[in-house]
């Protein structure tokens, strides 16, 4: 993982939502070993920026490049290199935590159930592995979502409000995971309302109204 090269360039991106000019020429560059903290008031386009970075949303103007190439030319490669955690935990309520992981991580790489179980343990929800996720608390679901991000082993993490619903322990765990990821040469874009106390250098990007 530390050998994975990592460079995300977001260049002069403009997005309109109906009449609203949500992103106005936003740019940033992210290399391996860096965390970008995106913050700003509600409605300023933080989630939109993250979705543009993922490739879910094509900006009206501007480009997003991964390792120097526009992501529209390398969709499959780029998607294999990223792990996206949206505002919702994105879990199927009727499937167990383990099954959820198996079906999403299994699309990106071959992985054994034992390994997935270990990752759930690491995330502090090992006991929930065989429970349908609809019976889990919001905090537990968030941890399962985090376990998914870990299990995918992608160099680029795009996280939308990852600290939502986490208690003090959970927040600590999240920060520890982020720090570890970054230490190994990974990069992360984190949308969060509060400061990130990561113990490593965090760059900030403010989106204003």
């Amino acid at each position: 993982m530390s050998t994975a090269r990592c460079r995300l360039d977001v260049d002069q991106v403009h997005v309109w939502r109906g009449d609203r000019h949500v992103l106005r020429g936003t740019s940033f560059r992210l290399d391996g070993g860096e965390v970008l903290h995106v913050w700003g008031p509600n409605g300023t386009g933080k989630t939109t920026l993250l979705r543009v970075a993922c490739g879910l949303l094509r900006p009206e103007q501007g480009t997003v490049s991964w390792l120097g190439r526009p992501i529209t030319t390398i969709p499959a490669d780029y998607q294999s290199a990223l792990a996206y955690a949206s505002h919702e935990a994105a879990l199927k309520g009727d499937l167990t935590a383990l099954e959820n992981l198996r079906f999403t991580v299994g699309m990106k790489r071959t992985v054994s159930l034992a390994e997935l179980k270990e990752t759930l343990e690491k995330a502090g929800v090992g006991a929930c592995a065989d429970l349908p996720t609809r019976v889990l608390s919001a905090g537990q679901r968030r941890r399962v979502a985090m376990a998914r991000v870990l299990a995918v082993r992608a160099p680029l993490w795009l996280l939308d409000e990852p600290y939502t619903n986490l208690d003090a322990h959970g927040a600590e765990f999240m920060s520890a995971m982020l720090a570890e990821h970054v230490e190994r040469g990974g990069a992360a874009v984190v949308v969060a309302h509060h400061d990130l106390a990561l113990g490593c250098a965090v760059r900030r990007l403010e989106l204003a109204a």
Partner: protein, 244 residues
């Protein structure tokens, strides 16, 4: 070369060009239609089989043809917008849809009126009319889909995809309805007997076709201008135009 095309396809230039063409198109349409109506209704000889009833062909046939042409145009414009992301494509597609639908309704109504003297009933599932009816459903689908989206960009793109899927299906629908009709020939359904056309009958028909086409494009120019003004309302050049 592409920059020339992109500049040509930019909203202000389309607005200008459409504005120049519209009055000429509508004027020449009026000329052709007036000639076609007068010659077709008053001077063309009555058909030996259908008498004077056949004259509705002058209003019906071009309407049917144009409804098909308009749908195809809508699908192509939508494809241009969807594949090459040229916003004018979506504007044209949105402008065409209600016009095409109106021609379809006109074709259905005139077809039904033609049916009365022919079959004694206003509707008898004639294959061409049935295909027209299904085409109307397709139009309604595209218009409703575009309107259902809050975000107009997504609405345009979704409607464009649906129009493309529809245009691929239209030949299939036509053929299957013909096939269905041929199976049930024994029943009272009669196809529209196309009268064999001597010149005196044909010229007014061709004039009507031409007139309808010109009218369609004239109205399209006007509608595209309105679409552009609406879609680009944030742009400064639009504010200049509106202020003037």
């Amino acid at each position: 070369m592409w920059t020339w095309f992109y500049r040509l396809a930019s909203p202000p230039s389309v607005y200008r060009v459409a504005g120049v063409f519209a009055p000429w198109l509508l004027l020449s349409a009026a000329v052709f239609i007036v000639y076609g109506i007068i010659d077709g209704l008053a001077f063309a000889p009555p058909d030996y089989q259908q008498g004077d009833a056949f004259r509705i062909i002058y209003v019906h046939a071009p309407a049917g043809w144009l409804s098909m042409f308009a749908y195809t145009l809508m699908a192509i414009a939508g494809a241009v917008g969807l594949i090459w992301r040229i916003k004018m494509g979506h504007a044209v597609a949105a402008a065409v849809a209600p016009v095409g639908a109106s021609f379809t309704v006109l074709g259905l109504v005139t077809g039904s009126l033609w049916g009365r003297p022919m079959w004694g009933t206003y509707w008898a599932w004639d294959p061409r009319l049935t295909s027209e009816l299904i085409l109307l459903f397709l139009y309604v689908g595209v218009i409703s889909l575009r309107a259902a989206f809050e975000d107009p960009n997504r609405g345009d793109r979704a409607a464009a995809l649906l129009a493309i899927v529809g245009v691929v299906n239209v030949p299939i629908i036509h053929y299957s309805v013909q096939w269905w009709n041929s199976l049930h020939q024994g029943a009272t359904v009669a196809k529209f007997a196309k009268p064999s056309m001597p010149g005196s009958m044909l010229w007014p028909l061709l004039a009507m076709f031409m007139g309808y086409m010109l009218f369609f494009f004239g109205v399209l120019c006007m509608r595209v201008r309105a679409e552009i003004l609406n879609r680009e309302r944030q742009a400064s050049w639009v504010r200049e135009v509106v202020r003037a």
